[in-house]
């Protein structure tokens, strides 16, 4: 029962997230895409509320957090679910998406895709925050927990704390079942924003397989990719307000999110040549993450963000590139890359696709840059490359969808 309540607590966030339906460009989307955007909006809203309450010392209760969420539901004014365009794709692509989501449900239900990081830090952080009713700096800074990455951005633990607030305790299975929900939401978001069911199906296939081989159940990666796909698709297809919100969530989900935001803003500037907007779009993300780093620094929690000050091992460049490229094969002969690059190679005019292509290249290079900061990076690459390379792959799917408009 607790597990069901926990998941219901996350799903109910769709209702306050419907406030994003007030955006004219979101109103044009088909219903599944609007529901996905609403889930993204709801997650962003509840984590922002919990984060803010942490600083104004308001307790986290169902009442104190529920009131602003209900206010969002009222303000959304969402009545007619049928508004918006018709779904963009044939039945085949929808069936394909559902098959991959169903297999992912099977994978998590039989404990085949659980990420170790759920057990070692995402879960512990979420439930400690829940019991403390705040971002527990004493817990994060405790010397014995030095491997828990004390300064990792808090969106996922805050989301887990919200689910725990609803269910009265943390649900390990709930955290796992979040993955197929987010996979479906990611697919629907791209399907609506790009108006392309075929590439939404391909994205689902790549992510579902990538999640399985990379073992990300319960970790932050499905959340990160959900917001990244929305952000890049929104930027590519001119949903700028939505992109700004999604980018803020990206920066607040994982350390590498900051780099993603910077590259996306750069790509927007290069491809759209609008200086003011290329500053405004990443501004919420910059404020949020700046605030978090200042908070982490003030509480002596800096860990991963301090890596940037470490020395770079250029002598390992060949080994790092070789090992990363080996992991990038995903043990299926680079099929995910071929499936996204071949349609691009068939085009002469990339048009809108330049933006996601630049982000894909940038995030791939930044991954190599990260790895070069480790004295012996082999283990690190083996443990993480298949997960982190899903970001450039997802960007390439968006690029392919953009060229096929």
């Amino acid at each position: 029962m607790t597990d069901i309540l926990w998941i219901a607590g996350i799903l109910v966030l769709i209702f306050p997230g419907m406030i994003l339906w007030r955006l004219p460009e979101v109103q044009r989307l088909d219903l599944p895409a609007r529901l996905s955007i609403a889930l993204a909006g709801g997650i962003a809203t509840v984590t922002a509320i919990l984060y803010l309450y942490n600083f104004v010392h308001l307790p986290w209760t169902r009442f104190t957090v529920g009131v602003p969420l209900i206010a969002c539901v009222i303000l959304s004014g969402a009545k007619d679910l049928r508004r918006g365009d018709a779904s963009p794709s044939p039945r085949l692509s929808m069936t394909t998406i559902l098959i991959f989501v169903a297999l992912t449900i099977y994978g998590v239900a039989t404990a085949r895709e659980t990420c170790g990081d759920l057990i070692y830090f995402w879960g512990p952080k979420g439930q400690r925050f829940h019991y403390a009713g705040a971002i527990d700096t004493g817990f994060l800074g405790f010397r014995d927990y030095y491997l828990m990455h004390s300064d990792y951005p808090p969106l996922v633990p805050l989301l887990y704390a919200w689910g725990s607030l609803v269910a009265h305790r943390f649900s390990w299975w709930g955290a796992l079942f979040l993955m197929p929900i987010l996979l479906l939401a990611t697919a629907f978001a791209l399907r609506g924003l790009a108006r392309n069911g075929w590439y939404a199906a391909l994205l689902t296939a790549i992510l579902a397989y990538g999640f399985a081989i990379g073992m990300v159940g319960g970790a932050a990666d499905p959340v990160l990719l959900f917001f990244e796909v929305i952000a890049i698709a929104a930027l590519t297809f001119d949903f700028e307000v939505l992109a700004a919100i999604a980018l803020a969530a990206v920066a607040f989900t994982k350390v590498e999110g900051v780099v993603f935001v910077a590259i996306a803003a750069f790509a927007y500037l290069v491809t759209r040549r609008r200086l003011a907007k290329s500053i405004l779009i990443p501004l919420p993300a910059a404020i949020l993450i700046g605030w978090w780093i200042a908070f982490a620094s003030g509480n002596h929690l800096i860990d991963s963000y301090g890596l940037a000050r470490g020395s770079i091992h250029l002598d390992l460049f060949g080994a790092v590139v070789g090992e990363t490229i080996r992991q990038a094969s995903y043990k299926i002969a680079y099929v995910p890359w071929l499936a996204t690059l071949m349609p691009l190679a068939m085009r002469r005019n990339f048009g809108r696709a330049w933006l996601p292509i630049i982000v894909a290249a940038g995030t791939f290079l930044s991954t190599l840059f990260y790895y070069l900061h480790a004295a012996s990076p082999s283990w690190w690459i083996e443990a993480s490359a298949q997960r982190v390379l899903l970001t450039p792959l997802a960007c390439l799917v968006v690029a392919s969808a953009a060229t096929s408009e």
Partner: protein, 133 residues
């Protein structure tokens, strides 16, 4: 979309589907039984935290709130997996590293803990709970 593009996407999706099913299959059976822990089938072998994840919920009600406790497998040099599993499974207690001063309570996974200052207060198939005399 051109016919060629559709063929590429469809072909890749089919390959990914087969690879995905194979990946799930090779993580071992049973395939349609409810798992006891969230790590039961992450690989064909037993996960390093499985016994801890089975034992800790049984031990939890026996520990006072706020008690200092540690968790490890005696004789195993890699103490981190069981220790961090305990941090997540005992949110009402203070779980400290087994590599420092030992606390009042010790949860020993699989192997007995032979420190004479401690006595067994509960025993389960996956391990034992000890308390300092």
């Amino acid at each position: 979309m051109s016919r060629g593009e559709k063929a590429i996407v469809a072909g890749a999706t089919l390959i990914l589907l087969i690879a995905f099913i194979a990946r799930l299959y090779t993580r071992g059976g049973p395939y349609f039984q409810r798992p006891l822990t969230i790590v039961d089938h992450v690989g064909p072998g037993k996960h390093e935290t499985r016994d801890a994840l089975l034992l800790l919920p049984k031990v939890r009600p026996l520990l006072p709130r706020g008690a200092r406790v540690t968790c490890f497998e005696p004789g195993n040099r890699d103490t981190m997996p069981d220790f961090f599993a305990a941090v997540g499974q005992l949110p009402r207690q203070i779980v400290v590293s087994p590599n420092g001063d030992l606390p009042e309570y010790v949860i020993a996974i699989r192997q007995p803990f032979t420190n004479t200052s401690y006595r067994v207060i509960a025993q389960f198939p996956e391990g034992r709970l000890y308390r300092r005399d």
